[in-house]
Symmetry: C2
Subunit: 354 residues, 2 copies
């Protein structure tokens, strides 16, 4: 199984920078002051380098909501009961969640992948994938969250679901998403383990625990990290000791996008933990990531900084599911359309700067 993962990682190449000068040159000839579209220009050029096209297609858009449960909820780290994970999955499949409304608005299809929910999910919805690794992770305060085999399995599952969907219909734009009660806790643990930022500085209130719950949450993560001493350079060690299945599967989504040269919009804090796992396994993957928003969750900025990325949206969101990622759609479309549809100074007969 591990060999399979390494074979996938070997398929990831750098983005195509060979035409960057030519693309930048075109950008500078468009009828606007040089650089005045700001980060929209960076975004357009990144999309071109990822896809190798001057006008990347943006037709087929899918978000992959990775769902799982976390044994650490035993420690009282979440404001909601664990039953909410399967309940929300049914809500996704019925189209009633925030991610569904935003997906309809932005032209995305929503895939829901059970990679480790504690209950059996019964659904024949074609957008549901039963890829359960186990019925939830173990309580990482007491023992490893999962075996190395399971960690590898969660990542490979994430990779292969995306590859399968791409084979079925060609994907042009991918977004990461998550569902799992309590999963900001393994996310903070993964983020602290890899970035070495102290636990308290990368731990937030999740879905809304009270101050006592916050103290329990920080302590549970600190205890877990002290017990396991994960190696910051070994993503499988970190993921297996203090991670969760959905974090592994999100890493897989990002790695698959990198293999397939498809832009992948990374959502908030849980997805960011997945991005850290992906980029620790293969640093080239970072070039395929579009950083979406600054989450309200305290550790969000530490992750973007660690990855050398800057988010575009500052919305104080803390919902997950992929909601923040999909809000990038309009900016992505606008960046590509402006780059391809604007007149040049010469064509429009506009004087360039003196």
């Amino acid at each position: 199984m591990e060999q399979k993962l390494y074979d996938y990682l070997k398929m990831i190449e750098e983005v195509d920078r060979s035409r960057l000068n030519e693309l930048q040159d075109r950008m500078n000839k468009l009828t606007k002051p040089k650089g005045s579209l700001g980060r929209l220009e960076e975004l357009a050029l990144q999309l071109c380098m990822i896809t190798g096209k001057q006008r990347p297609l943006l037709e087929n858009r899918e978000v992959f909501v990775m769902a799982g449960d976390s044994g650490i909820v035993e420690e009282g780290v979440s404001a909601y009961p664990q039953d909410v994970t399967p309940q929300m999955i049914y809500n996704f499949l019925n189209g009633g969640a925030a991610i569904n409304a935003i997906a309809r608005t932005t032209g995305f299809e929503v895939n829901v992948i059970d990679v480790g929910v504690a209950r059996k999910i019964g659904s024949d919805n074609p957008r549901f994938f039963d890829r359960k690794i186990a019925e939830g992770t173990k309580n990482f305060k007491k023992e490893r969250a999962m075996s190395i085999d399971q960690a590898v399995g969660s990542i490979v599952t994430g990779i292969e679901v995306v590859i399968q969907r791409n084979a079925e219909r060609r994907l042009d734009l991918i977004a990461t998403g998550d569902m799992g009660i309590g999963n900001t806790t393994p996310s903070s643990a993964v983020v602290s383990a890899i970035t070495k930022v102290p636990v308290e500085n990368v731990t937030g209130y999740g879905t809304g625990i009270d101050d006592q719950g916050f103290v329990r949450k920080v302590k549970a993560i600190e205890d877990g990290l002290r017990l396991h001493e994960p190696d910051q350079n070994d993503a499988l060690d970190v993921l297996s000791k203090v991670g969760s299945f959905e974090i592994g599967a999100i890493a897989g989504t990002i790695l698959a996008a990198s293999i397939l040269r498809i832009p992948v919009i990374v959502d908030g804090f849980i997805s960011q933990a997945g991005a850290l796992i992906a980029c620790t396994l293969e640093p080239k993957a970072v070039d395929y990531i579009i950083a979406s928003h600054q989450s309200f969750e305290r550790g969000s900025s530490a992750v973007w900084r660690h990855l050398g990325l800057r988010p575009y949206l500052y919305l104080d969101m803390r919902l997950g599911e992929g909601t923040g990622a999909l809000l990038m759609t309009g900016l992505i479309e606008a960046s590509i359309n402006a780059f391809n549809e604007m007149a040049t100074f010469e064509d429009a007969g506009v004087s360039n700067r003196e």
Copy 2:
């Protein structure tokens, strides 16, 4: 003429807060942790209060690009020649500018209003409005930019163009925009005059002047403010002494939106100067404004702070035309669709917090 403006101002009422508790209550019943959609929730509630509807229509969207020239360009404050103002107007009318590409992407129509371009514009394009107040403002380093009558005229023109378009097709969403070589200079002057932030802290490099040009620009503004001593509480005094026609017309766009109870997305720095004029004339107008982006132009944050608003997008843009405003479209749609389409905890059978 001044009486006409005051009659318009009297038509502006506060947004409808009577249903805020009921709306907030609905928001809290949706299947997401309370408050977890962050500023998207604020945005949805603001749109409801502006329009008085739980599901505001977002069908008819128009941006009003106010175009004019500034006499202060004599002082060498811009990187581009003044001819670019009319050239860019033809580019707008031919669909080749950034605002056109982004308007097509986001479903907006582009209106171009000549309120003071230094050259005659010849066009029978139905989206072009010839409402020239004069052929450019005067050089405010030496004399008033315009008379009080012209200042009032520019604002009333902005108001009446929007009222006319609304009568023709019912507008659901409005955005502000601008074109005018050198117009960051009167904008910085207006912003410093009203906010009392020192000129140097609200003056940037505009379309890209060099360091010497920047020094000239700051000095020209400081000289103008010293000469005229505009009254920070008297918007007509400020606008007429150091403003520009397009800034007045943008203020008019915002006031018209407030009169008509239509949400108005305010673009970057020049539009922000217009917002200061509008909200100094009638502070209730601020509730109708959707702050779009933090411009790269240095004074942008001072204006948002003065208005008590926070932008959503951090894109380092400095293009104007309304481009940054239109990038809010996806967020606005998503906020309204999530608010109206999401299932409640009860409907979806999802357990609420313990």
